[in-house]
Subunit: 273 residues, 2 copies
């Protein structure tokens, strides 16, 4: 009867291991535990954690123990709740330091930041999102809760459109199709044909714009960075506040700077096709 219980209990696991026998399930579970914590759920007790990641108490126990030993998790001695440790930052730090694009772009971003005194970002694409990987905020900055690691949908951001516009058209189209096209503001471009038109315009002029599409009052101008195969590997953008510039002024002032910086970081001689 013991065996029977076990059998029924593990059916799903057996299936999943069959699907990919090379994959180490313990590792996957450990990451399930780690990624159970975020801004909404900053700490959990063992039972709560176990429930939230779909493990039994024993398993949760072993993984929390392991992750504590490795230093990524700590348990508050009073509340006995688990929380992430600062060592988690090491992981992101490793990526930043190991990434040649970020290292190569750094001086250009700094230069842009100092000459314009506006907010300058480097972003990369991850499926349907862009992720901020390097950021220099101006003192006029609008938005303080965009930090390194923040994700935004590609379709409604200047960097996202700039990157998509340099992908083969059907690739870009696929990404847009997969995207959850939410209307964040009255100015959000969300209709597929409007988005495709934006891509065309971006490809033609060499830079993309997004005015009030995600945040109210945010004017953003971006140009894609291309790798050796002319494949877009990221984007540089400048973001300014509508209170200080009109869209036209912003384009006039910053588009050529952004394009020039993106070209400098690109591993090719000319951004145009």
């Amino acid at each position: 009867m013991k065996t029977r219980k076990r059998f029924s209990a593990r059916t799903s696991k057996i299936v999943s291991s069959r699907e990919d026998p090379l994959s180490v399930q313990s590792v996957e579970k450990a990451f399930r535990v780690l990624t159970a914590f975020d801004g909404a759920i900053p700490s959990m007790g063992l039972t709560q954690l176990a429930a939230s990641v779909g493990l039994d108490k024993s398993a949760a126990q072993r993984f929390t123990h392991t992750l504590m030993r490795l230093g990524y998790l700590r348990k508050d001695p009073d509340t006995r709740r688990f929380e992430l440790t600062v060592k988690m930052l090491d992981l992101g730090y490793r990526y930043t330091r190991a990434n040649p694009l970020i290292q190569r772009a750094l001086p250009y971003l700094l230069h842009l930041s100092k000459t314009t005194e506006e907010t300058v970002n480097l972003t990369v694409l991850d499926d349907t999102d862009i992720i901020f990987v390097s950021r220099f905020m101006s003192r006029h900055v609008l938005n303080n809760d965009v930090i390194i690691g923040t994700r935004m949908p590609a379709y409604c951001t200047a960097p996202g459109i700039a990157i998509l516009s340099r992908l083969p058209p059907n690739e870009a189209r696929n990404i847009l199709k997969r995207s959850d096209l939410v209307v964040f503001t009255p100015y959000t471009t969300y209709r597929m044909d409007d988005l495709l038109k934006k891509l065309e315009i971006s490809a033609a002029q060499g830079y993309a714009t997004a005015f009030d599409e995600f945040y109210h009052g945010d004017l953003s101008i971006a140009a894609a960075i291309l790798g050796q195969n002319r494949w877009p590997i990221g984007a540089i953008n400048i973001a300014v506040s509508r209170t200080r510039f009109s869209p036209e002024e912003a384009v006039e002032r910053f588009s050529s700077l952004v394009v020039a910086a993106a070209l400098s970081v690109s591993q090719i001689s000319n951004l145009r096709r």
Copy 2:
């Protein structure tokens, strides 16, 4: 007889598992693989990776496979070398968002940053190091390769001294003893009794200073943030360039601001003992 076989076959592993049978070794190995990459070694082939983390090729194969499936590692299709993906940033991001100290401190840091127009940092202690967890750079910034996640030795930084000075004296002493006291500049404080004196001064005046101790030309003033038990949980510092201020001017201008901000973020009514 089973037990006997176990014993002979895998002596080293048995030892380690005996020491801590609750720990999941696969997870530990996965993290060995992930943390093999950094600025110095941004990418590796399978064999090289296996050698560098002390796994055989089979194991390296399974862990890279697993980590790729989870999205933290990618393999360049041309070079077949592995590298970290931007998903690593998610992990650090989770910590930042889940950490109540960082969230609580944010508005005060922003305020400091805007009013002073100087570089403002929030740091926490991790053993003998401080780690930058939040940072607002001024345009006069000296040092561009300090980013979120950067570690520095506590003993030669203002935030480090500020934090240590609020620990029980023998705790602070133990940390200093464990520290590798490197002389970075001619002004680095590295003798134990000088360091202890710095702690005393910091405790007495409520803020710590570090002038040219790690970077030439860097003047830093820090105050510790205390938790409910008056235990230091981090520090706020302002860093300015010697080209623009003398140490005395910097102290005069910024020490009270830093102390006030740290007190505001602290969960107590008064920074003094």
